[in-house]
């Protein structure tokens, strides 16, 4: 499928309205705050704002949510630099070099570098999204039930990537998600499963209340009793802004490599921002002239990690828009936003809703610019965001979460779903489980089951079930990718453990 330049042009013209630009800036501001507050990650922020976008037209809603997604991935680095607590999981690498810098009184320089990396990386990801998604969406027509089944399985294999360190817990969490997805009518027989006679449970549990429960409610319960924070100062540093710009310009390969890593990891279904940062960070260390300075305050580390995790944003939207397979937990929530607005991922999205989709993608360009401007010039406000007492944050977020879960379809039952998922998620967090595998299970479970059952029916008409699942070229490629993902996850974990034992042994 070619990129339709007339649609692109009219979508671009539509961008230059006060409304769209205003939503971009608003999204950036909300996203930075959400990302900066510890415990509220990009996905929580998007989930909280999503129900409020019902009053907007589809494109405005997507522009706002996209801007939040982009900005929250940067916002995490603020708390990473100033209080050594990554606001989003992806900012762990940023904390490793950013916090030492802020201890030395160079907090602004670290933050300027982070926002520069985020904006450049974000921009790179968007260009990839714009170029690659339409042809991939056209390719998705070639994906029959069996291919979609294997694609969803590949998405599930990412659980290994997320939780290779504690694999059994990851599997348990993913299975919980898969089980939650079975509630409702069995697609193969229409028989209601686990409904216990409640009519609300004869249909699948609603996605957004579950997400709000698992992300927002559980995280807030987990934050109860957290100590108040003391942020390092962000006193003015003359010349820091120009220094960071020069620093990035003379290292084009570092920036490009990190951005590329971010995009590729984003495209892989399910692998999220934290993996992107980790890989980009370790690559930057490997190629650096001063690898010893990493972890003690090297700007290269910040640049690599932030460039990569924002480039991941564009990448994670590629499989989402082309196949309906989210590339990260945040993308899973955006999938909810798409379907609520009647937009079904795939080739039709680009043909029949071209203006909305291209508008959504192109709006990331003003968003990235807004991110750089707001991120650079609002630095003094950051430390005050970080010192907002949990006693104010937690109740506010809980209220928003419950209102949001009710607002989706005005059902009190859905508030119960959010509460139950919140309590369950809290117990899981406290016992060392991760939430992301649960969400992957919930989102991918119906895709896997639906396509598996349809594949069986289709295979019967073609004679061989085995050939239908394993004999088709795209299936074989997907199986190989899945296997490679699983092996590489454990291999990486094995090497990491070996290195740490060697280092401690020294």
């Amino acid at each position: 499928m070619d990129i339709p330049f007339d649609t692109l042009y009219s979508a671009a013209v539509g961008l230059f309205s006060m409304k769209t630009l205003g939503l971009s800036v608003l999204g950036v501001m909300i996203g930075i705050i959400g990302g900066a507050l510890p415990g509220i990650s990009a996905s929580v922020t998007i989930a909280l704002v999503l129900p409020m976008t019902f009053v907007l037209d589809p494109m405005s809603a997507l522009v706002l949510l996209g801007a939040i997604y982009m900005a929250a991935e940067y916002g995490g680095s603020i708390s990473a630099v100033l209080i050594n607590t990554p606001g989003t999981p992806a900012a762990i690498c940023t904390a490793m070099d950013g916090y030492p810098l802020s201890r030395k009184g160079r907090a602004r320089e670290a933050l300027y570098t982070a926002v520069l990396g985020s904006s450049v990386g974000g921009f790179f990801g968007i260009i990839i999204l714009l170029i690659f998604t339409p042809p991939l969406a056209a390719l998705s027509l070639k994906f029959n039930a069996a291919e979609m089944f294997w694609l969803a399985i590949a998405g599930l294999a990412v659980v290994c990537n997320l939780t290779a360190k504690d694999f059994s817990k990851g599997v348990i969490a993913a299975c919980l998600g898969l089980w939650l997805a079975t509630i409702g009518a069995d697609p193969g027989s229409g028989y209601p499963r686990f409904s216990f006679g409640y009519y609300q449970m004869e249909a699948p549990l609603p996605l957004i209340p579950m997400l709000l429960g698992f992300f927002a409610v559980s995280q807030m319960l987990n934050q109860l009793g957290r100590a108040e924070l003391h942020a390092n100062d962000t006193k003015p540093e003359p010349g820091a802004l120009a220094r960071t710009l020069r620093f990035a310009v003379i290292r084009p390969f570092l920036v490009l490599r990190s951005a590329l890593i971010g995009v590729i990891i984003g495209i892989l279904p399910g692998a999220g921002a934290s993996i992107a940062s980790f890989v980009a960070y370790s690559e930057a260390k490997r190629w650096s002239k001063k690898p010893d300075e990493f972890g003690k305050g090297n700007l290269e580390g910040i640049l690599a990690s932030e460039t990569s995790n924002n480039a991941m944003v564009g990448g994670s939207l590629v499989p989402l828009l082309a196949f309906g397979i989210p590339g990260s937990a945040s993308a899973a929530i955006l999938l909810g936003a798409l379907t609520i607005n009647g937009l079904i991922p795939g080739p039709d999205l680009f043909v029949y809703n071209g203006e909305i989709v291209y508008g959504f993608i192109l709006a990331f360009i003003p968003t990235v610019i807004a991110l750089y401007v707001v991120g650079t010039f609002a630095t003094p406000i950051y430390s005050s965001i970080l010192t907002i007492r949990p006693a104010f944050v937690i109740p506010a977020v809980l209220v928003l979460a419950f209102i949001g879960s009710y607002a989706v379809r005005a059902e009190v039952f859905d508030v119960g779903v959010a509460t139950a998922c919140g309590l369950l998620g809290f117990l899981m967090l406290r016992s060392g489980f991760k939430i992301a595998p649960v969400i992957l299970g919930i989102v991918l479970g119906p895709l896997i089951e639906d396509n598996f059952i349809r594949s069986l029916t289709l295979a019967e008409t073609e004679g061989s079930v085995f050939r239908f699942f394993f004999g088709r070229p795209i299936c074989q490629i997907l199986i190989l990718i899945t296997a490679a993902m699983i092996v590489s996850a454990f291999w990486r974990e094995y090497r990491k453990q070996k290195i740490t034992t060697e280092e401690t042994g020294k």
Partner: protein
Amino acid sequence: MNRYKYPGILICLLLSTLLFGTTVVSVTAAEYPSKPINVVVGWGAGGGVDTFTRIVGKYAPQYIGKRFVVTNKKGGAGLIAINGVLRKKADGYSLAAAMLPNMIYQPVLKTEDSESYELSDLVQLGTPVLIPSAFHVRKDSTFKTLQDIIDYAKAHPGKLKVGTNGIYSGGHGLVLMFMKAAGVEVTPVHYNGGSKQIKGLLGGEIDLGNTNAMHSVRKAKDLRTLAVSGEKRYRLADHVPTFSEQGLDIIDYVTRGIIAPKNTPDDVVAHLRAAFEKMKDDPAFVKDLEKAGLAVDFRTAAQMKMYMTQFMKTNQWIFDLFKKEKMSK
């Protein structure tokens, strides 16, 4: 005389209470609707049923008297929305959008322990839209006519893949009607909704698409419709012959209408029914629906009831078969 005073007051009180009570009742009837009417749609915003309901809502202030407040309660193909409305007060301020044949299949096939609705729980208010179901192929398909499909299916039993919008849905029922009428054996392939089925058809996963005729209008560029299941041709795609023109006796409509819970006061029901009958003659209303691919083909509640009784009688064998299969799995 004095001793009559007390009962006299009592009688006065009693009379005034009666009078007051009756006034309240007649006020409700005369003044319905006195506040906006909530209408729930069991499908997503921007979808077919939602678009229909919002168009009706646009004309509601003019014909019904108050505006519609449309809420989307997605889930279980209308199940959440309709059951939700039945648990509200039946005062005419809580209505739901509903469609056939879904509204028949759902209660007939529910499990024994389910608290979901019965068909008799619903009161029809008016059905402005009747769309025939339609069989489509891709534009580049080698099947040019319905006869081509039948010939192929006869020569290759069980090989022809026909889409449905879900197992034991109205579309699945239509496949069974087709198999019986044409005397062929095909394989139904189930999708979660019409858009996904059309995607499967365009991607070559299935040979024959089976959705309502709205897709013949909206997707005219990509699809060739071979037959529609109405008594007459569909007005917005009148180049497509009906099944009966091609020798198969199949009548199956998908409808878009508004329902109220049973026990809604009779005068309220009458008011709403009369309003819908007037609304259908408004040219602007007809035009708005046509823009959404829906041709107005109004049926009154009585006509609808007749159609439904007929439909259930003719297709009892399908319900029996589905029920047996569903419970045995």
